[in-house]
């Protein structure tokens, strides 16, 4: 395990913790951007260049900006007076600790992950494009339809109704 991986993994996890625990929502959104960037670097380190750059474009460029807009539109940038955690936070943290315990135990005791290391696969954007146009052409069309429907739906839901309700 290299130092680079350790540093990036630490940054990613630490910024995720900060995004979930900071009081100011704008700071949360900025920390979320750091988490997404760390994940993009991890994808690049794993040899999936296209996915890494798609992560930067879609998550940092679109989703995080959308979240910042939502925070500013809902006046969430003012820190709340009461606690930021709900009354039943002990249950939530307990469930999360149980999940990480279970997942960690399963991963560490698995025999699948102890096999030999393979050389990095070569992945070109050309391969991805060919696969998208042949094997995965139906999912591609479906996701295009889904995105169109979702964006039209989002605009209609968030559109301000001028008269009547």
């Amino acid at each position: 395990m290299t130092y680079t991986f350790a540093i990036i993994a630490f940054l990613t996890v630490a910024s995720a913790v900060a995004a979930m625990s900071l009081r100011n929502l704008v700071h949360c959104a900025l920390m979320l951007m750091v988490t997404f960037a760390g994940l993009a670097v991890l994808y690049l380190a794993l040899g999936a260049q296209f996915v890494g750059f798609a992560q930067v474009l879609i998550y940092i460029g679109a989703v995080a900006i959308l979240i910042v807009f939502a925070i500013l539109l809902t006046r969430g940038s003012e820190p709340p007076r009461q606690s930021i955690f709900s009354a039943t936070w002990v249950v939530g943290v307990g469930i999360a600790v149980m999940v990480i315990g279970l997942l960690g135990a399963v991963v560490l005791s698995s025999r699948v992950v102890t096999r030999e290391l393979r050389p990095a696969p070569v992945l070109s954007v050309r391969d991805i494009g060919e696969q998208l146009m042949t094997t995965y052409v139906l999912p591609l069309e479906v996701i295009g339809l889904l995105l169109t429907a979702a964006l039209i739906g989002a605009v209609i839901i968030a559109m301000h109704e001028e008269e009547g309700k």
Binding site: A9, V51, F85
Partner: protein, 103 residues
């Protein structure tokens, strides 16, 4: 500890952090952020298994992540639109106060 184990542990940690945030925070936007974190943790698993799996020349893992990113973008857009719509009605995004379906 192999590389794959390390990636899987990072992914499990991210998933648990997102789950804890989604379950404990009061603000609806941050709950949505927690759900996004969990989706990203699953994506990291797909890429790690693709990279260290026995059939890396089959691009199924990468393709799944690409489609998953697209679905997550649609989910974020609709979710935030819903939150803004609810905020316009209740004047709050505090989930403890949004406790009835009838407006």
């Amino acid at each position: 500890m192999t590389q794959l184990t390390a990636y899987l542990l990072v992914s499990a940690l991210l998933f648990a952090i997102g789950l804890a945030g989604a379950l404990t925070r009061r603000n609806a936007i941050i709950v949505l952020v927690g759900i996004e974190l969990m989706l990203n943790a699953a994506n990291l698993n797909f890429i790690a298994f693709w990279r260290y799996g026995p059939h890396a020349y089959v691009l199924t893992g990468v393709m799944f992540v690409i489609f998953s990113i697209g679905v997550a973008a649609a989910e974020a857009a609709v979710g935030l639109a819903l939150i803004i719509s609810v905020y316009r009605h209740y004047r709050t995004t505090n989930l403890d106060q949004i406790d009835e379906l009838k407006g």
